[in-house]
Symmetry: D2
Subunit: 388 residues, 4 copies
């Protein structure tokens, strides 16, 4: 197995984007529980995200969600982020919270509604120019609830047509990142339900159209690391939305439900060239802290990704390939598991300290008094949340 010192440099290449919406209130269809100190606007979300980066060094950017993070002056927002030591990242569009979109957005049979959804993406691209964002991430709630409700194939054609218009509006290095999802909020069919559909759609668009893999958006039992390997092989893995799940799109803290799956995913990312500075694959979190504290929840999340990345980097790939070539099933598996079972936490603490970061980020955050401060400072006003 590789030693920790051999992988230390590579760990420095890690960057995980935080979702602005992780800091606002979220919940299930049954209830959104309110937490004290939650941000009231995008500026406060950025301040919170910056805390995660301050204590971990892992989260240099924050993704925005439009219209949740709409502001009058994106230049000011950008400077605000920079003053807090982070940058603005991916722009996420939202075509699922307007009554017009009840039966679809870019796939809607009504041209007016389709155009409205396309225009929203144009507005997002305008924002990207102001924020300096590279990626326009498109997750669609489009789908149907009942067989026969709409023509699934015609919707694919309309989807292709709408995406084409959006894609053509991109400039320079900007990318269109299409996310797929197995189900929810649509309960019969989803217009982009699987990686195959996303892949076929982005293939038709061009080089700067890629796929976003959200780890919670698959059918039960799906081998996600296989999809990672395949999309990397096809040159179409654009980004990750990390989270974890036991059942459906539970949006739990990444690594919480199945740490070994996270390890396998990160191994394939590294093996396939998706990790590090030269890679175009964006790492992002997309999860909800419905019942746990939000900033610590994000700190826990990026640490989980880092710890598992370290383990995946530790795999002795030379020995592994030898065992694989020999067809030694048990030996190959053992080499793989050796890295997973290695406890990297002490080494990571030292690594952090060597870079001027706290050995124990969660404890350091707790000791900083920030949590108490925001509870006090944000006592009045409307808290941000989904739909805020």
């Amino acid at each position: 197995m590789s030693t920790f010192s051999a992988i230390a440099a590579r760990l420095g290449e890690q960057a995980i984007e935080l979702p602005s919406w992780a800091f606002g209130n979220s919940g299930t269809r049954f209830k959104v529980f309110m937490q004290k100190g939650v941000p009231r606007d995008p500026f406060e979300k950025i301040a919170d995200a910056a805390q995660v980066h301050k204590f971990t060094g892992l989260a240099p950017t924050i993704a925005l969600h439009i219209p949740w993070d709409k502001v009058d002056d994106y230049g000011a927002l950008r400077r605000h982020a920079e003053e807090h030591g982070i940058a603005l990242g991916t722009i996420n569009s939202n075509t699922f919270q307007d009554d017009d979109y009840k039966l679809g957005s870019v796939t809607h049979s009504d041209e007016r509604i389709r155009q409205k959804a396309i225009d929203h993406h144009f507005a997002c691209i305008d924002i990207m120019h102001a924020t300096g964002s590279r990626d326009l991430k498109i997750w669609l709630a489009d789908g149907t609830n009942y067989p026969g409700q709409d023509d699934m194939r015609a919707r694919q054609d309309r989807l292709a047509d709408s995406l084409r218009k959006i894609y053509d509006r991109l400039a320079g290095q900007q990318r269109l990142v299409l996310e797929y999802k197995f189900f929810e909020p649509a309960f019969y069919h989803t217009d982009v339900p699987d990686w195959g559909t996303a892949y076929a759609q982005v293939m038709a668009l061009g080089d700067r159209a890629v796929v976003c893999l959200d780890t919670g958006h698959h059918a039960p039992g799906t081998n996600i690391e296989f999809i990672v390997a395949t999309l990397l092989r096809l040159g179409k893995l654009g980004s990750f939305d990390f989270n974890s799940r036991f059942y459906a799109d539970d949006d739990l803290i990444v690594g919480a439900a199945d740490p070994f799956q996270l390890f396998r995913i990160l191994f394939e990312v590294i093996r396939g060239g998706g990790y590090g500075r030269q890679s175009q694959v964006a790492f992002m979190l997309d999860q909800c802290h419905n019942i746990e504290d939000k900033i610590p929840g994000q700190i826990r999340s990026v640490l989980n990704v880092q710890e598992m990345t370290a383990r995946a980097l530790l795999v002795d790939r030379v020995a592994l390939e030898a065992a694989q070539r020999e067809g030694n099933v048990l030996r190959a598996n053992e080499i793989f598991m050796d890295a997973f079972y290695t406890d990297v936490r002490r080494d990571l603490s030292e690594w952090r300290e060597s870079r001027g970061l706290p050995a124990k980020p969660l404890a350091a955050y707790a000791a900083s008094g920030y949590a108490e401060r925001i509870v006090r400072d944000r006592a009045i006003g409307k808290q941000a949340g989904w739909g805020a």
Copy 2:
């Protein structure tokens, strides 16, 4: 196969309880789409439910949800229902929409919160006295999101203790009906996840504690009709929450996703003595009409149950048992399918007319002008919905 005339009398025994919350706005965690004409209070919900009964003759009662349907005078509500030709039915408790219940209600480690949840059930029982309801239905959102978050076994003990207190408060013929659910809103463990847990808990309580089977609350692939048969055999099937699903707890119109499953369920209900006037098994709907019209959605639902009940009644059980005894797999299956594939709709239309009901309930409702009237009459005020 039996003839339709042979089963006509039995069809007259059918009664399906409607959920008051099916008439208010509902949605997913992403969005609640508003519909025009939606009720603004429990009285209007009852008026809408009465429409379903008026056009189908199938829905003589309405279930209430506390506190959503809290009123000052339940006697008045009861009379209001009776004036509209229906009666008040099951009382559903709600311990999932108060901030205190973030980490649990009747299973919470904090005695104060447990007692608050128990007290809520006591209040529900008081309402039952006023409404004349037989059943107190308890669905719990209790569970955890993360391994280690709480002690699952201690929660079972606390659950047993809380249920005991609630059960002991019941009087006369009142029943405690415990519903289980595989997951959601809890994403790691649910305190009553399966029929086995519900069964073990109600067995410990006594004769008037029974299980509610919601058809959307199972793991993928679960053979629900087997559970129906088993609970009937054990004497513990108390009621149904009907709906349908492709993925999780999608809460679609009953019969919409898998009509054949509904047929199999109803066949086991009938075979096991769970159908008809002498049975204590309550038929209820529990579904959301997020994107479709609500009153027609309920009409469609009760008709689906009726049509499938007719098919299930048509099964030639004598021939079926003979084929089963012979081990004739194909023949037994064919006899079973014969009933399923029989188109009973014309016969049901005639049956309806013979009883003074419209042949085509959906068309008759559409022609009645009720939909237009409520849109007009309820233009102002706050619409009811989950949490309203």
Copy 3:
């Protein structure tokens, strides 16, 4: 809704290929139950398959499986089929029953074994020339059981390379049809687990490489009709392996587990141009009759496909599209369900009689004495089965 007479002509276009292995013994890993009268060689399988066509008019071809159906003289086999009124169809390769293939065949890291697997496909192509078959269907058992066991991505490259060699050997109108499967017999990863992988692989090959969709080869909850629509849209749906399942790849009689799903699939086939004489989409069965009689099981199966095709053809697509355009969810669904709930069996009986076929194929077969004859005639010798 369309009338039956309006669709009668289109029903005449239906042709469903039977798998030769459906007539031999099959089972689970726990037990293969023997049946009397089972064929002892490919000639007898053809004779049995011809019975299905004789009584239904629906099954004019039989698929062969190599090496299970290896014979010395394929010309003789072809003539034997023709004398029985059917033709030879798809050739299925088999690279999963040789000890060499324990860790893979066309994806194996050992070049010798890969070449052996490729050579087997070359031999299959040679047979296709003799049998006049159009399609070479490739289902691979390739995959791994343990994380780390092999390099999933390198296996994709080797798969692509092997398929390229096989594809280049095809001549004239011959096609390579690549089948995907979610899992089994591999239990960690499958080399072609989903339609996306199959699609990406056949896209790289060329026009005459297409995808085979086996209805039992998906993750739980997968919307199969969406995949049908999508593959038809992309021009890459080559064929179907029909069967049904409640859990995994149960290989039950098509339509037995979820008749409504079969209806939805067939609707998308028709809507997408995959049905009828002008279509290149091949309909095939691939199922096991482990406990039921084999020839009647196949008759039941093709009748199920026919009955559901009739229902799908009956959908009033003009009215459906109008309701869809209006966004009338309930109405669109109702139009769709109207066709599904229509009992077409009597009309189909008359249709059959009008074409010189028995009104009731199963009864006619039972009355024919064929079953008794083969039990008597095939009393000695080794029965054919998987691996025979």
Copy 4:
């Protein structure tokens, strides 16, 4: 967190029973791959099982499967085991490999076949007297493939009746252990599909009837540790069949697919009093080594259980309970994960050495020459396997 030294004594209490059938050839319905050196009779299986115990100290007993392990003289078999340093354990009945059982065994509608199956269990009990076994483990393949094929409820009654007869035949401390399984080989319904059914059946029998939990026998997503906790609470957890799975009943090496799940299960076992000398819960493996070496596969398996047991014992339960009481979700989860992420392998090596066992059991076995010896010695004769 606890220190390793604090748990060392408790590790000494671990005993994991091996299945005799793990040493014979096994496979999928597609192919059984043969391995060299595989046992040819029960005596050789015992010799192989003894190797696992010799190098790990963890596997002092071997379970037998009747009729696979039928011998003329069970006294001789028992002495053979003792001479090899192990003992005979659970007796597993088999009513799934006789043609009579095609449609069921103890649930069959034919009284003759039911009695045959009951008699087989009587014969197993006779063997238990000779072997000194405590447990009769009953896993039934009984079920149906098609809706309508048989009467599911009548089968429950027949099951109860048959189990009653078998249970009444037990003597002294003998136990009846009923195993449940979600599906396979039956594909529509299974007569004991879930823990609830097994629980209801054994409750009706008496104190010495308990449930066996096979970790691969659940629906996708099932929270198995919850079932462990619940069965322990109800006093009805009799034994475990350990293995792991990604999809269905894959029967992979325990801990291979989801190590964290194994950790959670073992934590609940310990928390609920199911671990250690005073406990009546039997730990058993039930898995197949289809493609990997069999003896090393078993060594790997018992080590996996041991390593994860050590981690589960390390959980700081006092701190955990404190965090749980405070409702500190993140802290409670962190305490739980701390133990899981601790690398116990070096400590376990030392622990082993301190007890006269090899530090590295797999390497020690490989160096022992046993594998080469059995390949040489068992070159001729029929290998044992399922059905042998």
